[in-house]
Subunit: 268 residues, 2 copies
Amino acid sequence: VGFEDPGHPDHRAGLALAGIESVPVPVDDRGVDVEALAASGVGAVMLTPAHQSPTGALLAPDRRQALLAWAAEHDATIVEDDYDAEFRYDREPVGTLQGLAPERVATLGSVSKSLAPGLRLGWVVCPPRLVNAVTDEKRIEDRSSPALDQLALAALIESGRYDRHLRRMRGVYAARRETLMSALAKHAPHLELRGLAAGFHVLVLLPPGMSEEEAVTAARERSVGVYGLRDNTFGEPRWPPALVMGFGNVGEGAIEKGVERLAEVLRA
Amino acid sequence: VGFEDPGHPDHRAGLALAGIESVPVPVDDRGVDVEALAASGVGAVMLTPAHQSPTGALLAPDRRQALLAWAAEHDATIVEDDYDAEFRYDREPVGTLQGLAPERVATLGSVSKSLAPGLRLGWVVCPPRLVNAVTDEKRIEDRSSPALDQLALAALIESGRYDRHLRRMRGVYAARRETLMSALAKHAPHLELRGLAAGFHVLVLLPPGMSEEEAVTAARERSVGVYGLRDNTFGEPRWPPALVMGFGNVGEGAIEKGVERLAEVLRA
């Protein structure tokens, strides 16, 4: 199965646990490289087209078309992790690939970002031919997810309160991102940023000559928790050294202070 | 991995999903045949010693000793599904194998029988050397179970109400089992029964010449749901044809009526 590179190591580990080999497919600023995907000879791909994890790229419109054409031509299956899709701050979220090719695309969603990861609730919208196989395997593996939690979520969605919560939280997270961007512009205007105005993290390219390990270690010594992009790479590294900066669970005051301290590190 | 035969087909399917081959180990009235287990050459075994699923047998004391001696000699791991262990009606439950050999035995427990299967909460008490491997795999597979549900269960246990609930439900289920046994004695005294006074099912041997399929079909035509033992067999069949009769989620009135109707079938 083709897997975005860089991509989340835990998802790759999940594939490995299921006995599935991940084939790295390079990601650039326009999302996954569909020509490289086609050349790899895989029969399926797992990707994060709405907000690539971790680069923050949106899969470019021409690549979306090329991806769907590739799937049609090779009778391939696309697993679309609809990661962060509810949290786009500059415009309406893009539609899912599943909506365009319901026979070829399985979309994964969850409430981990919208409500809380501790709820462990999600869904698969998948081609009808795969529904029985997916539910059979889920039944054998864990006998399905907790019933009360599912019923509570259904009640929340039906009441309209889930949508209201999403609208409210989009504002909260947009403000956190805005704080992060302003703080970076103020304290470290020389740094290059990547990624859409979406989700819960920003990618910051490091100044020339600085390694991720160095930057992460120095930041942690100042009590600022950031991650290196390299931890998400599993084929040939194609991106310059960068930090993944999360802002989802940090208040605006802490973001401001964190960037100020990080700027000292990244100035060096 | 050695697996009890007869044993639950879904558990076997779960092993298969994890890429593990199940080797059938025969079960008789005294539980799993430890000599056959030793002869099979497996390095691990999964079993239900407190109340064998589905025969209802208790692993005999000499076999418990032989099993632990086998594990020590071959550096083998025992996975003890502590199935139905809280629900023994005639005496105190037997202790776990894990308590006797904490370095060799991993015990699986859950609240599926004691509270509700829809809660999907359970635990593994495992040898210290396996704790990291088990938690790592759980994290990759499902990022662990819902946090709120776990906290609610912890509060229930700490408050003492979980134990009170178990005591109360033991009485409820013992009464249902008693109703089932009396109804069988009254309506079908010729039938031979198997299994401990424990858990939520009784094994009923069929009259000579009757097949399980025949009995199950005829019972269902009378709106009585029972299962054939053969569905749990995966090696050589060693048990006579029998029905598995569950009484856990059926009221006493329905049990009485069901047995009356079933007796018509089993008289034929």
